[in-house]
Amino acid sequence: MESLNCESLGTRAVNQRLRSLPDGGHALLVQPRGRHNLAVGLSSRISIEIAGNAGYFVGGLGGNRDGTGPDIVVDGFVGWAVGENLMGGSVRVRGSASQSAGSSARGGTIVIEGDASLRAGISLKGATLAVGGNAGAMSGFMAQSGVILIGGNAGHGLGDSLYEAIIYVAGSIDSLGSDAVITEMSDEDVLTVKEIVSETGLDHIDPTRLTKVTSARQLYHFSTHNHSAY
């Protein structure tokens, strides 16, 4: 296991060292102190533990089109856009996440054990975003594909202008956004969530007691008739 001190090395050198690790490698990042852009753009199948709080974009742009990639664990809080544009692998946050968790992520899994703030899963493009606690307002905005699982409550405007991503919520929903509707859970949905719960360990979530939110598919294409709905 390689131990890298973020404070003495600096972000760029830390990321270069991580990039040079071969598949199967491990690294421990110490003294992250909320630094931005840690462990970004990595494609190898390595495991990384960040011992403390990370800043913006941690784990972003990671992984490959086949869904493989680094497995990153942050033992603390993270800033905006954890796992932004993730392609594969996983990012797990043991604390809470700030805004835009998993934004535009195309593959892989992002797990927030605590709460996620506003706009979690914005523009999600195929990844799985699992939040153990609550998710803030405007979560799932324009999410195109993938799954957002929220173990707690969801804030206002959930799933606004949603495309084909599916949102499951265990707790309450303050309000739905434009063109988001509550649809009935099917047996297939229960299987999907069971799989995510088993993969992420968020086993306080009961897959049979969820609210499913999908697109009403009324705002896919701009129409002047819909003007008032935008």
Binding site: R33, G34, G76, F77, G79, W80, S96, S98, Q99, L118
Partner: protein, 303 residues
Amino acid sequence: MCGVIGLLIRDRALEPQLGSMLVTMIEALDERGPDSSGIAVYADDRTGDTPYTGRVKVSLGSDEPVDWGRLAASLEDRFGEAVRPVPFGGGLVLEVPPDGEGALNSFLAEASAPVRVLATGLNLRVLKDTGRPTDTCARYGVAGWEGYLAVAHTRMATESAVTVLHSHPFVPMRDLCVVHNGSFSNYATVRRFLLAAGVRFDSDNDSEVAARYLARRLQQGDDLEEATRWVMKEMDGFFTLVISTANELSVVRDAFACKPAVVAETDGYVAVASEFRALAELPGISTATVFEPRPEEVYTWSR
């Protein structure tokens, strides 16, 4: 970017640590605002064992080199004991009787030294400087400051010049501070309205417009929350605003929460900052209640 900071001490035993707590917060947000910074501290109005002096503290600053010793001497010539110059930051804080501000302002307007009033207040002192905020903290020994409330700003300028006078916090009336991360798009319109109403400005900064608008609402009788709601209603743009009075700390974000903010609350203090990393080194943070303020909700904590 810009970084905003607010720190309200609830447990009096922590008041001697205000400065050191504040410096860890400012250092963490240094790279969000490397151009300049401003730091406001509120401490109880007392001299030795006398709990209330009633003297107004007038914080002075300048964008040009000033011979502060000479200014202090000329103040003494003119006002004698009535005006007490106390070194603070790179400049001076003048302690004047409650009714002495007018005469002082006339004197300063005619003085040869190019100084400006950065702030006035019974409990408030403010310093502003250009350059890295971390260096400013070290230069003026901010870690040693005591008090019960502080706000600070690290500035990455986008719409007006990098000078001392363009730096936050803006202090549009006694003991009221405003710091801002974001930008206002209709500030010129609101500024014209305020100018027509007789409000005077120290800079062409957009945030100063919000500060002076807020002060005008307060002077018209609004409480802090109402006045802040008026700022949200009339000012168009992106903002996280941290606002302080002599006994309150407040934070508010625009409707889309475009600019970051995180709050940590413990029995000992309430801390507000742009990013969690600015809170990470505070005492007791691991057991603090940490949350991000919701859009358009005014959060206010009293001393």
